[in-house]
Structure formats: structure tokens, C-alpha cells
Amino acid sequence: MADSLLKRYTYDVMANDFMAAGKSSSAIKSNLKSLGIDSDILRRIAIISYEAELNIVIHSFGGKLHCDIYENKIVIISEDAGPGIEDVDLAMKEGYSTASDSVRELGFGAGMGLPNIKKYSDHLEINSSSTGTKIVATINL
């Protein structure tokens, strides 16, 4: 069936762990690559998962990144343990960032993460409260 989950990959993402940041996205990419997913789609998924992963590292208390594979779509899901996004509409604006100066110096905090996730996904849902943020980005195959 087109809408039944074929496979789920799940990765733990730790808050503030810049050493490991990007690892989960890399693992997702190599898994999808070995499934023979088209390189354009891989690129979009890499951007989405990287931005979602880095947002967990930089802005949250830690969480998980999932990659769900369906017959006709790939869904990247990030869920974390808070503190939540105060104003999602504002956070979606290009250039909006609450990242600290020290993190910005490393090249993060361009405020382009969520806008890029939106740009490169076919469908995006964000739910956020003080207990956590969940992002569901769908890429059609």
C-alpha cells in the first residue's frame, strides 16, 4: 500500500553536542542512498534533516530525528524535549534567529534553517509548546 510505513530510522540527537552534529543526517543520507533514492531528493532531504538536527542541537534540550520511508514519500521528523518555539510564524521568517553570539561565530544562526526546511519539503507541519517541538517534513518521491 502506498501509505504504509516501510521503514523507520531513528537517531538520538543531544543538545549542544557540536562534535556529533550532522551525524544523524549523514546516516539518513547514506541509508537513503543505498536504497537508490534520486540524488536531487537526497540533497533536499540532507538540507532538511541537517537543519532539523542542528536546531535540536542548538535550540533544544535534546531529542530525536526520524526518517520514515513510505512507497511514495520520505518523512523527516524531529522531536525534542523543549523549550519550544515561542512564536512559530516569527521563527519561520528568513533571518530570524535567537542563536547566541558564540554559536553565530561558528557559522550557525543564519535564521535560514526553518525557511530552508519549508522550501525543500513538499509539506511541513510544526507543533511546538514549552514541552517540545515536533517538525514533520514530507518529501514526495
Partner: protein, 110 residues
């Protein structure tokens, strides 16, 4: 032209040369990782002043040809260890991003 031939012509200092034989297919200059993620493409050389370990994650995800660190920025040891592990070539130079880009253009990389 591949990264190593390039590095030699431009007199870049190699910090990690693993897999340096990849042909460079384009160049992107940038220091904000989200923008580099969205703009740089497979087999591009990435010119930056960022030296933090996450540049290697970006290069790995995008399958970049190499990273060229300009303005003589000191590259973190963690970054080099990671680059060697993931086979991401990193070169360094005291020149500016603009100078490197001009020389790359002269050598025919568009």
C-alpha cells in the same frame, strides 16, 4: 582539475589530503552554514573562514570536493581528525576568499 592539482597550483597548504583526487565542479564561498547547505553542491570546492568541526559535517553531507580555509584561520584539531576520518580534503591559505576565487576562475573553474 582535481583538488590536489588545484592546491598545488594555488600553493594551498594541505591539512587533510584524503580523497583529494575529486574533480572540482564548482565553487561556493560562504561562512553561514545554513546558506552553504542550501547553495553549495556536490563536488564543489567550499571557500570559508569557518574552521569549526561542523564544516566537515556540511562537506560530508553535500559531498563537497574540498574545503579551502582562507585568511590563515587556525583550523581546530577536532576538525582535522574528523576530516581525516570522513576523507574530506581541507586546504589552507593566507589569501582572501576573493583572491582564491579569482585564481580558481583563471584556472578554468566556473
Amino acid at each position: 582539475m582535481n583538488c590536489l592539482e588545484f592546491a598545488e597550483k594555488l600553493q594551498l597548504t594541505p591539512l587533510c589530503e584524503k580523497d583529494g583526487n575529486i574533480e572540482i565542479e564548482g565553487v561556493y564561498i560562504g561562512d553561514l552554514l545554513s546558506i552553504v547547505m542550501a547553495k553549495a553542491k556536490k563536488n564543489y570546492a567550499w571557500i570559508t573562514i569557518q574552521t569549526h568541526i561542523n564544516i566537515v559535517a556540511v562537506a560530508e553531507l553535500l559531498e563537497l570536493a574540498c574545503i579551502i580555509v582562507v585568511e590563515n584561520m587556525e583550523v581546530d584539531n577536532d576538525t582535522l581528525l574528523k576530516a581525516r576520518e570522513l576523507k574530506i580534503p581541507i586546504f589552507k591559505t593566507s589569501e582572501s576568499a576573493y583572491q582564491v576565487a579569482c585564481r580558481m576562475a583563471e584556472l578554468g573553474v566556473k
